[in-house]
């Protein structure tokens, strides 16, 4: 017996061949089954508690989300949008054109040009034939 391998073989061959006693088997199994029952009951109750706890938490979270969504929906109403500040209503094109025309006439030819423009403007609403349409009248007065 000189080599390590021989020693290993000696140990392997020396493995005890044992058989358990039937009384021991009964004793071990009885105690093991009892321990298993005890632990299973414990775990079942524990798992039930955990399940109940987790489902309660889930329900609470779901309720909070629903409430939050409800509050948001109430506050956000697209039809109740705050109207933006409106400036003064624009004057009619005829007024704008008149003012612009007077301004341009003054720049071009001074007070005389303004007089000439005014005379032309006062000359416009003269009598027209009954066949003239409203559109033509408006075009004539507005210049557009």
């Amino acid at each position: 017996m000189n080599s390590v391998e021989n020693t290993e073989n000696f140990v392997r061959r020396g493995k005890a061949k044992i058989t358990t006693d039937p009384r021991m088997d009964r004793h071990v199994l009885d105690d093991a089954f009892a321990a298993m029952d005890k632990s299973s009951t414990l775990k079942r109750s524990r798992s039930n508690w955990t399940w109940h706890r987790s489902s309660t938490i889930r329900l609470a979270v779901a309720a909070m989300i629903i409430v939050a969504i409800g509050l948001l929906a109430i506050q956000w109403d697209p039809q109740k949008e705050v109207p933006s500040e409106m400036g003064p209503v624009a004057k009619s094109p005829a007024d704008s054109l008149s003012v612009m025309s007077l301004n341009m006439a003054y720049r071009r030819g001074g007070i005389e040009a303004m007089d000439a423009l005014a005379e032309t403007a006062f000359d416009l609403p003269k009598s027209r034939s009954a066949k003239v349409s409203l559109r033509e009248l408006l075009t004539e007065s507005n210049g557009v």
Partner: protein, 180 residues
């Protein structure tokens, strides 16, 4: 291995039949291991009992990472170590070992059976328990050094050196007994 996994799966679902089948499968092997480590059949039976009862308590949460045989063997080795400490670490001397070899009424001799097994029991008694358990776990239970290290919570280098020193010592004891 697959059979073990299936049985463990059933055991985790509360099957007593699965637990019984696992016990029937490994009881002899584990008792042999415990007797080899403790050299006392009564203590060895207690160890196997405690290991299986503790295993039964894990029903529902037990997870099998390696082999079940390796797991149970490690449990037996750990439990045997505790029992050994409680027994105040009786160290068998050479004369006592010789007496064991010749004493056919010895309970260990009766329980172990074969002559070679009896001789191994005698010489293993000279080794420190840490070396004994590693030699037996590796050569009898066919556990890898890595698994033994993991199960015992020591480094693989420690396991390998304990194994090497143990085997060396065993070889020298065997040589000295042969030359006597």
């Amino acid at each position: 291995m697959i059979d073990d996994k299936r049985l463990v799966w059933q055991f985790n679902r509360g099957s007593k039949e699965a637990l019984q089948r696992l016990y029937e499968k490994y009881k002899d092997d584990l008792l042999g291991l415990a007797i080899t480590l403790l050299r006392d059949r009564s203590l060895a039976e207690d160890v196997v009992h405690d290991v299986f009862v503790a295993f039964a308590r894990t029903a529902g949460v037990f997870t099998l990472t390696g082999t079940l045989k390796g797991y149970l063997s490690t449990c037996v080795a750990n439990c045997a170590r505790d029992r050994n400490r409680l027994r105040s670490a009786r160290h068998v001397g050479l004369d006592a070992a010789e007496a064991l070899m010749t004493d056919s009424k010895d309970p260990v001799a009766q329980s172990v059976g074969s002559e070679e097994a009896q001789r191994l029991q005698d010489v293993l008694g000279y080794l420190p328990y840490e070396q004994q358990e590693i030699i037996v776990l590796h050569l009898h239970q066919e556990m890898r050094f890595r698994d033994i290290a993991e199960a015992l919570g020591v480094s693989i280098n420690t396991v390998q050196s304990r194994y090497r020193y143990g085997l060396e010592k065993l070889r020298s004891i065997l040589n000295s007994t042969v030359t006597k």
